[in-house]
């Protein structure tokens, strides 16, 4: 790690300039992936740009229209302490709070989880199901990118040189809407998802599902927005037939590898199971019965 430069810019402009001035620079948020990679010699950045002093990068805000803005470098623990965010987006919060230990929660961020670009990132399926958008800043200014468009493959993103994710925006939502995230790991804590599933539902006044979004993690090179799985349960109640359609559509969307955490067949089967279970939780939350 010789010749490393550490910069802690205090504005977006300074941060963009710092990133652009050092090719091979990496953005430092909570460091729970980056510093591990640096210490193992897997990442050898010329510079680390600590963005936590950039206004907007850390914090949770609710806008007048009800939309939530989460700074991309906000520690997961702070996200979990935000009562209004937890009440409105319990699936996003539970996904963020599943990452690592209490200590890791004190540092790990949504921006880091997304841009580390692991297919098994826990918060990403929940954010994709929530239809969250990233505010990306860079040399060409500011642009909004749907979360599912950021991962390009394991360890790779679609961000341009000099760009970084400043914040996440969760859309305003009304009554009778909720979300849930479930992951499978073979132990109870401190592990990487074999499969993750995020489900986000909105119900009409008559209780029928009017909008459904399903996202799956660790079953493809990037987090999947399984549009057909969401479409499979729109228009009715979440009965056994709807759950069977959801299961089949979620399995059909999968394209997993086999590795030490699970075979391709197992992951595909589990994706359907988790999608069903997460949908039931989101449905009960949206109906206010949980």
């Amino acid at each position: 790690m010789a010749e490393l430069q550490y910069l802690a810019p205090e504005s977006v402009d300074e941060a963009v300039k710092a990133l652009a001035s050092a090719p091979g620079a990496r953005v430092l948020a909570g460091g729970t992936d980056l510093i591990v990679q640096m210490r193992a010699g897997r990442a050898k950045p010329a510079a680390v740009i600590d963005v936590k002093r950039v206004p907007g990068a850390v914090g949770v805000w609710r806008q007048v229209d009800g939309a939530f803005v989460i700074g991309a470098a906000t520690p997961a623990a702070e996200i979990g302490e935000h009562a209004a965010l937890t009440a409105t987006w319990p699936g996003v919060v539970e996904a963020a709070n599943l990452i690592g230990s209490t200590q890791v929660q004190g540092r790990a961020s949504l921006g880091g989880n997304l841009c580390n670009a692991s297919p098994a990132a826990d918060s990403v399926p929940a954010l994709v199901a929530a239809r969250a958008v990233c505010v990306v800043v860079g040399p060409a200014g500011k642009r909004e990118v749907p979360v599912e468009a950021v991962q390009a493959g394991p360890g790779r993103t679609t961000l341009h040189p000099g760009e970084f994710v400043l914040e996440f925006r969760l859309p305003p939502r009304g009554q009778r809407a909720s979300d849930a995230y479930l992951r499978l790991i073979p132990r109870t804590e401190m592990d990487i998802a074999v499969v993750g599933a995020g489900v986000n539902l909105t119900l009409a006044a008559d209780g029928k599902i009017s909008e459904a979004h399903v996202a799956l993690g660790a079953v493809a090179p990037t987090t999947l927005l399984a549009s057909s799985a969401g479409a499979a349960i729109v228009g009715g109640a979440l009965d056994d037939a709807a759950l069977a359609r959801l299961d089949a559509a979620a399995c059909a969307a999968c394209n997993p590898i086999s590795d030490k955490r699970g075979t391709s067949e197992y992951r595909t089967r589990i994706a359907g199971v988790l999608a069903r279970r997460a949908a039931k939780i989101a449905y009960d939350r949206a109906r206010g019965v949980s």
Binding site: Y6, R39, V48
Partner: protein, 162 residues
């Protein structure tokens, strides 16, 4: 390579040191400030032996650069006892024999103190989940959990008496 000058607060006292950009907070605490209570177990955020508080939040000091500590408030195991008077958690760890080799103990104590500050009456399950990132290869954890729950009761009693 130029060193970075860092000014911070450690256990209530202002502290400053010079650091290389890649040096972790753990190494700066141990090597620059002589605070060797925080340990390096894994160096990858899995074991919790390096646990410290930064601006009131529990973190692994091995996964934080020393340069990031500029202007932050750091609390380490060295700040836990007051003079010769042990913190109730430390006292209960002794009474319950909640340690053998002791390498994980500073991290467990710092993490357990953070738990009891946010949740004065945790259940056994909450305590076990909170401490899931603190590995101990000696005790099997039961004595640790008993010590933390016992210390929580003492602290609640002290609070009522105060």
């Amino acid at each position: 390579m130029s060193k970075i000058h860092v000014t911070t607060t450690v256990n209530g006292d202002s502290a400053e040191f010079l650091t290389d950009p890649q040096t972790t907070l753990l190494d700066a605490l141990r090597d620059e400030l002589g605070l060797t209570g925080s340990k390096e177990g894994c160096g990858s955020g899995d074991c919790g032996a390096c646990s410290v508080m930064v601006d009131g939040r529990l973190v692994c000091s091995c996964l934080m650069l020393a340069a990031e500590a500029q202007g932050r408030r750091i609390e380490t195991i060295e700040g836990m006892a007051h003079g010769g008077e042990l913190h109730p958690l430390q006292q209960k760890f002794l009474e319950h024999a909640a340690l053998q080799c002791g390498f994980c103990t500073p991290g467990l104590l710092v993490a357990a103190k953070a738990l009891l500050e946010s949740n004065p009456d945790p259940s056994e399950e909450e305590t076990r989940y909170w401490l899931a990132g603190n590995l101990c290869r000696c005790t099997g954890y039961d004595k640790v959990i008993r010590a933390v729950l016992d210390a929580a009761a003492v602290l609640r009693q002290e609070r009522r008496a105060a």
